[in-house]
Symmetry: C2
Subunit: 172 residues, 2 copies
């Protein structure tokens, strides 16, 4: 079974972007790049929430060398040939994807997609690069969920720039 | 000038209590107790938000050997002789308190009190004992703030029970 990991950069007050969608506050460092590079080697599929995709589109390229899916019930067509639109139920789609052959799967935000996958017990691991800032306002990382989800700490790494990377296994 | 520290236990999705106010999910360990014991030695004053005080009252004792203030604009009288009610503006009160002689000051939640003190640039340090759980819903730790607050990581400590204690200096 392929592992599904939800991995994000967030502020300490749990925003993933400013209200206008900008993420200028996200720090790039050799340490965070190295951590991410190790992760990239394990995956071949990226799942985008539609809102995250809209936000990121034009600000950074979609990822090369992996299969990019954008999950949306409303979007019927994408101008971006690098991505494949998925209109079916996210949980059903990911459930099928997990049982197929391949490397692991990266859920690239946002909060709404993660919520539906967490609730369906389809996420195996969570990685958060917690930035040393209170943004004060912005786009929330987490949305209310139907149930509590218990986690097991896998790793906690402190970067020289003050970021703390934590990763957890989801207890099912 | 006395240092003001906002210190809490939170879930990874940034709740400080369940919707009904319960905090049964907060883990007690030798490591977290030792960390807290070291902190207690540095303070002589505890500031409670009114809602936090209401929540905690009856579930645990107010702290002994320190001065307990409950900040509220609405509450006019407290049955609890261990605490002193403060009706004046929280920021003005804490501003005065900081310039008085004494040990450091502990802001014991909640999010609303912290918000007003952060916005008034009166909090010097933040400590969060991040628990390995998504509660899914509950009483939020953070409320929207008027401005961004930059932080400097002081310490990151991993406990055997999966909690991660992070502390930050507020950059003013």
């Amino acid at each position: 079974m392929r592992k599904v990991t939800f991995r994000v950069a967030n502020s300490l007050d749990n925003y993933i972007a400013r209200k206008d969608g900008s993420f200028d506050w996200i720090q790039q460092s050799e340490e965070s790049s190295a951590s991410l590079a190790g992760f990239w080697k394990t995956i071949d599929t990226v799942l985008w929430g539609r809102k995250t995709y809209d936000l990121v589109k034009g600000r950074m390229p979609t990822f090369q060398g992996v299969k990019n899916y954008v999950l949306s019930r409303t979007l019927k067509e994408s101008a971006d040939k690098e991505v494949e639109l998925v209109n079916e139920d996210a949980a059903e789609f990911v459930h099928t994807l997990k049982s197929q052959k391949g490397r692991d799967i990266f859920v690239m935000g946002g909060g709404k997609l993660a919520k539906s996958l967490f609730e369906a017990d389809l996420i195996d691991e969570v990685g958060m690069n917690i930035h040393p800032v209170f943004l004060g306002s912005g786009i929330a990382l987490f949305h209310e969920m139907k149930r509590q989800i218990n986690l097991e700490l896998i790793e906690c790494q402190t970067f020289r720039d003050g970021c703390v990377f934590v990763s957890y296994r989801v207890k099912s």
